[in-house]
Amino acid sequence: MIDNTSSFRVKKAFGVTIMLVLLFFAALPTVWVLIMSFREQAEIFEPIWESPLAVTLDNYRGIARSDFPKALLNSFICAGSSTLLAMIVGVPAGFALAKSRLSGKFYASWLLLLLRMAPPVGFVIPLFLLYVNAGLIDTYFGLIVAYMTLTLPLIVWSMWNSFAQVPDELIEAAIMDGATLGKAFLQVALPAARPGAVAAAILGFLIVWNDFFYALIITRSSTVTAPVAVMNFISYDSVDWGSIAVASIALTLPILPLMVIANRYIVQSLSGAVKG
């Protein structure tokens, strides 16, 4: 059905133009933050074409010397630990929800969705009061536990979707052959759902890595995570844009490969409804 009539070519050109405009919209902020990160402090407020050669690595060196790498490490520790804990608890639960004949599964799905969708301020207010009284403010333990409220519902939900796509017959056959349920889960179902499990772990990691609100309320200086630490480059009377640009890049680079790996599973994991 390839027709080369002029009206088709006009439409095609129109479509290509729209795509290019949208690509510009998608790319401009990224290109801009890269440029800012290499600009000299003194020239940063000049238009780029007036001093295109004012290029420096000072902003990167400054970040390396600051407290920011420690904050990145904190982000890694919290995102990794709370994801790992939530996987240990959540993967078997997702399997059970997908394959058992328990009643009330609809309410379980509602609860999981609700926990993911509930405004975080509702969780944070009581957690904050509890933590102040229990001395858990600014501790790794407190932060990791708090992040379980984000990771666990997400991981159970997406593992439920992943295990639902594993044929029941596979598990039944294993059990017919005399495997225990635990064995059928570990040796049959889990390998079959491995892409989904990788995606669930990545999504759990990302949601903690991106969090700003929890860390803002329940960390102080020692366990502060990178998204909150970046605010230190904004002081009352000035903003260190060069450092902010480098910090933004440092916040994004570690998770970029994860996003590229996970993107085709994001759809499946978030909504079993729309098959990807």
């Binding site: 949208l22 800012m36 509602w110 975080p120 301020v121 916040l251 996003m259």
Partner: protein
């Protein structure tokens, strides 16, 4: 369902499943239900961060909600942010998904380029767009200055500040809409379009009468997920506008934060949070139902 061979007592299996579920039930109970119960209790109390509490429980926080003009203002800001944010994300995401699906050979780099904004953490998104909306710094302002055009300072007016937040939100979240709509598009068999063409449908007709109806579940899902997320706006407001100018961009979630942590009015903040929670509960009920209907 075909009749299944009964492998061992089904009851025993079900007990096994229940044991696998228990740790998660226990964990959800501790990590989620306890804080939520705390929020509910606080919302009926008179707890103040500095003054503490006189153990005076009642409905007064909820009575106050009804006549709170600042709350109404925050609902307005939240509605504007949600409506325009979700609308532009879905439209841009759909346009790019249709474009990408048309590209022959599945141009993978294009997909990654459009995905990139989704990988940037919200704080970084907010800071990058704050820089783009800072007139003395922004390359956009500098570019228009070349032609003698002065771009107004968006963050100093209510509509401008709301627009700025919608831009930042759209930039980072359109790829989510794109991914889901693209997946749905790729799930549609090309045979359908061909069949429509054989029956004499034009391309436009076949898009509107064949493709679009099949995309409706994807659109619904994206819209609902993005809408619920948009009720949680925080980092962008915190970084880009601090709720200003004045109080004009204090969306409800942010307003609950202000009441709790700046005005120390914990009980009232909790009451606002409970109200938001009820809205999320109603919407997530429909999402769960939709999900159940589509998967079964």
């Amino acid at each position: 369902m075909t009749s299944k061979p009964q492998p061992r007592a089904t009851a025993e299996l079900e007990r096994g499943y229940r044991n696998m579920l228990l740790p998660a039930v226990f964990a959800v109970g501790i990590f989620a239900i306890v804080p939520l119960a705390g929020m509910l209790a606080l919302s009926f109390s008179d707890y103040h961060l500095i003054r503490g509490t006189n153990w005076d429980f009642g409905f007064k926080n909820f009575v106050r909600l009804v006549s709170d003009k600042r709350l109404m203002g925050s609902v307005y800001a939240m509605s504007v942010l949600s409506f325009f944010g979700v609308l532009t994300q879905v439209l841009i995401g759909a346009a790019i998904a249709v474009g990408l699906s048309k590209i022959v050979g599945k141009w993978r780099l294009g997909r990654v380029l459009f995905l990139l904004p989704y990988a940037v953490p919200h704080v970084a998104v907010a800071l990058i767009w704050l820089s783009l909306f800072t007139p003395t710094l922004s390359p956009i302002n500098a570019f228009f200055d070349l032609f003698g055009i002065t771009v107004p300072s968006f963050l100093t007016t209510q509509n401008g500040a709301l627009f700025a937040i919608v831009m930042a939100d759209t930039w980072t979240n359109f790829p989510f809409a794109m991914l889901i709509i693209l997946a749905a598009l790729q799930g549609i068999s090309p045979d359908l379009d061909e069949a429509a063409a054989l029956d004499g449908a034009t391309r436009v007709q076949s898009f509107f009468y064949v493709t679009l109806p099949l995309l409706i579940p994807a659109f619904l899902m994206v819209t609902l997920f993005r809408f619920i997320d948009s009720l949680k706006h925080f980092p962008m407001i915190f970084v880009m506008t601090k709720g200003g100018p004045g109080r004009s961009t204090q969306a409800t979630n942010y307003y609950a934060y202000i009441q709790t942590f700046q005005n120390s009015n914990v009980a009232y903040g909790a009451a606002i949070a409970v109200t938001l929670f009820i809205v999320a509960a109603i919407i997530s009920f429909y999402v769960a139902r939709l999900n159940q209907r589509i998967t079964s």
